[in-house]
Symmetry: D2
Subunit: 295 residues, 4 copies
Amino acid sequence: MSTSNIHGIIGYTITPFTADGEQIDLSALGRSIDQLIDSGVHAIAPLGSTGEGAYLSDAEWDQVSQFTLAHVAKRVPTIVSVSDLTTAKAVRRARLAEQYGADVVMVLPAAYWKLSEAEILAHYRAIGHSISTPIMLYNNPATSGTDMSVELILRIFNAVENVTMVKESTGDIQRMHHLQQLGEGQIPFYNGCNPLALEAFAAGAKGWCTAAPNLIPALNLGLYEAVLANDLKTARELFYRQLPLLQFILKGGLPATIKAGLRLTGIEAGDPRLPVFPLSESAVSQLQQILKILR
Amino acid sequence: MSTSNIHGIIGYTITPFTADGEQIDLSALGRSIDQLIDSGVHAIAPLGSTGEGAYLSDAEWDQVSQFTLAHVAKRVPTIVSVSDLTTAKAVRRARLAEQYGADVVMVLPAAYWKLSEAEILAHYRAIGHSISTPIMLYNNPATSGTDMSVELILRIFNAVENVTMVKESTGDIQRMHHLQQLGEGQIPFYNGCNPLALEAFAAGAKGWCTAAPNLIPALNLGLYEAVLANDLKTARELFYRQLPLLQFILKGGLPATIKAGLRLTGIEAGDPRLPVFPLSESAVSQLQQILKILR
Amino acid sequence: MSTSNIHGIIGYTITPFTADGEQIDLSALGRSIDQLIDSGVHAIAPLGSTGEGAYLSDAEWDQVSQFTLAHVAKRVPTIVSVSDLTTAKAVRRARLAEQYGADVVMVLPAAYWKLSEAEILAHYRAIGHSISTPIMLYNNPATSGTDMSVELILRIFNAVENVTMVKESTGDIQRMHHLQQLGEGQIPFYNGCNPLALEAFAAGAKGWCTAAPNLIPALNLGLYEAVLANDLKTARELFYRQLPLLQFILKGGLPATIKAGLRLTGIEAGDPRLPVFPLSESAVSQLQQILKILR
Amino acid sequence: MSTSNIHGIIGYTITPFTADGEQIDLSALGRSIDQLIDSGVHAIAPLGSTGEGAYLSDAEWDQVSQFTLAHVAKRVPTIVSVSDLTTAKAVRRARLAEQYGADVVMVLPAAYWKLSEAEILAHYRAIGHSISTPIMLYNNPATSGTDMSVELILRIFNAVENVTMVKESTGDIQRMHHLQQLGEGQIPFYNGCNPLALEAFAAGAKGWCTAAPNLIPALNLGLYEAVLANDLKTARELFYRQLPLLQFILKGGLPATIKAGLRLTGIEAGDPRLPVFPLSESAVSQLQQILKILR
């Protein structure tokens, strides 16, 4: 599957836990994946922030990765996040994802120490050389602690053959302008910041990576379709309709909010792992109100 | 003239100086105003950042204000920036602008000390009570040192009757979303950040306050027209075409860049006042290249 | 008077206004200066932040400058702040201060636009060449909007002969370390950040520019004397005793707090100019409590 | 051992790897520990940032923890960092450290998501309840992504009985002032920011947690002794002598710099794990020059 097919609404999957929080609930995982795909998303992305990838043991990560790819079974492209703190561990995950059938792997330069540009480039190069699957470079300083400039992103894009897509989550729309300008329109970029959904599409983003389709897929897809139809007024109207939920998700935290929302709609996926709290009762009520209006 | 007419491309005027920098060159000012109006801008805004309002003596400010309003002669609405460090001085300027015929006055809470919310509100209230002209509240922490939250802006909007418009220049597009949401679509907001021109219109901005029409009015007007025509693709294309100049203006400084650009097109408006430098020779060459492609 | 004499506690003077806020109250100014000098400060500094220099008309600035220098009459060295938005205006003030007898002039690169390093250097050079009085370079990004790196400060120090002292107010103690290191111990630096009083002296600052001696001169002087006596324990103890007041001054704003404090001790200096508020009643009570404990 | 004994110079240990980077080199670990203790440090702290704790597998962490405590054998107190991304994993490490004989465990609220105050408090409470060993709360937003306010630190200190010490590494000396003020002098605080070594002691810090004693123990100990002797001048002089190395360590990264420095002095501890680079050749030369002057 060529990466030129990756576009539109890319839905993050959650990682359901059993009630005691100690096991992965594969049955719930399967149902949440089916619901996402049936809703019409154009691709799915497991094991990212929403998927609590950072909170899983290696064995759990392997289990979720293998199960997800088998369960999706190529119904839509799958973008597996393989980020890890050491290069060796990230390479291990990238190889496993490739072996399980990932269409794309996503790499955030997760770091304890602030990494130099040379260290980041070497990290991407080592992962890139270890697989033949396309890589989506992911910039999100809020969770990784490392902000990659557009210039660095371009250097990596040019230096590592299978880095072919960029996901931008700084929240600064001008980064996408610079990607468009410096990349001369040849670098497919994707938006990872929910409240910038409208602006990113206006700026030319090829897709929107978001956890929201677990809860409001029709609105997410509608926004994308309005953009494809060159209908700015409808896009704006749909954006402002869904914005309260997008803001709520960001404020409440992705795993906590999406798991609470799935629970409201009949999929029990457990709670996030501590220290992350599940949504408070009052926040669940708020979420219910917002969803009632939107669905 | 009702403020409901204020929309579209709002062009800043420069303040031309004589060659020794000591006098206002009213003749050049008149020509630069005529050129702006003839290009089709929907309104003009003198004495703001581009107009070096902060660098003028009181007598000079009065002279530019009076001349500009007489010269525009209601061909388009005029929005006069009346900001000053003390409330008393800002009131003085607001009254003069009203007396000279301003359609709107614009107020940035310029500050040496960081002001409290109560101090900012009282400042707007004092100015509001001293005139009957509508006020455009202006938020630009980069030049004023004071960032007004959307909540504070709403408090002022509700507390001071003639504050009826908001100009937002933080560079954070989400501020406009919040204005739209919290104001329930009833607060007309205008964009003051050039590189956000496309996104601000996508988000629903009613106008774009910009110095660029001194140099590339057709592209600025074209972007607005594409938005009015609900044609996102054309708007995006026109935005990316003019973006290099918008970025150049921001980087080079508004008065220096616009004065250099006017000189290239036959209007000699002198240099900015020191310590602000005129554009370097190499920057002038760059500007010439950019303009050659765009015009 | 050689600048090698500038050391120790350097007290800012306030600028008293008449009850209607429209005139300078020279009689109160004289009394507040006398009180400062009699308390034992090593130098005084008029027309800075505390002196509301930015809020005065040119005529008022000239009046306060001339009166202060005549009234001090060389009892202690006087450091006059001559900052202004344009280079021409700052030069005018510097020449006046020199003519009235200033021992040192202090220059903050006040800016509406963010200045380039070349613009800042040219600004200092123009002022330096216009007078023979020593210049204290002042870095305070919170009020000037312009942060000068230690490297830039050194360039100016080396390029402009009469820039012979540095006042640092970023609040980052490491700037003083870098000044000490890069200047190889040859650049006299002074602290302008009240809550860093202890650390700045520990780092080798030659003096402390502060409004606090208007209210608690004995504690300020005691801290400096403990440092001179190489008695860290006493310095620490005196620092923590006065810290609540230093923090209160910072939080309440310098002119508002010092004017309220002087009023409590019998010198009526009026209120700050709007939009700056005088201290609220409850804050005045707090200040009274803090002073009761300390005096 | 009561925590009242924890004071002075607290040396971080590195975690040596074999040449292929895949095994822990316990023999080198033992030698590096002995060298630290023989140099006179007052305590040692394994498995923190310098110890690459975040880059170890669980099995490796257990091995280093057990070996270090056995090898130190109570010659000095040992403070074991037990931070981990989930509360369950941090509890597991805390229990192991206690079982192996740690005198103190250190907890940084490492986070992928930004944690709420309630989440952070619950995290400390869960760890605190799982052991009886004293806990050193550690605030370092640059590596954890989470900045704890002084107010939050106090809440945790009061709510969790065995949180009895605070290590502050924000780089803002005023945090220590607030800890001293709000804790009314009853909260022992320790400095974790090398370039603030002098100021932290001036502000009353009880100790300095640092990797520097692996390379220049005499200077580190001398600074502390000068402070104990109330000799500010000597403390300042010793601080400025060692500051170039402290800055070099910070700039080059702790594990890379210390491992390179140990190699220069005869202890081969391998390289940091990728993506972290070992020191470049030119940086090693610089380090050699700095050390030659200091030792």
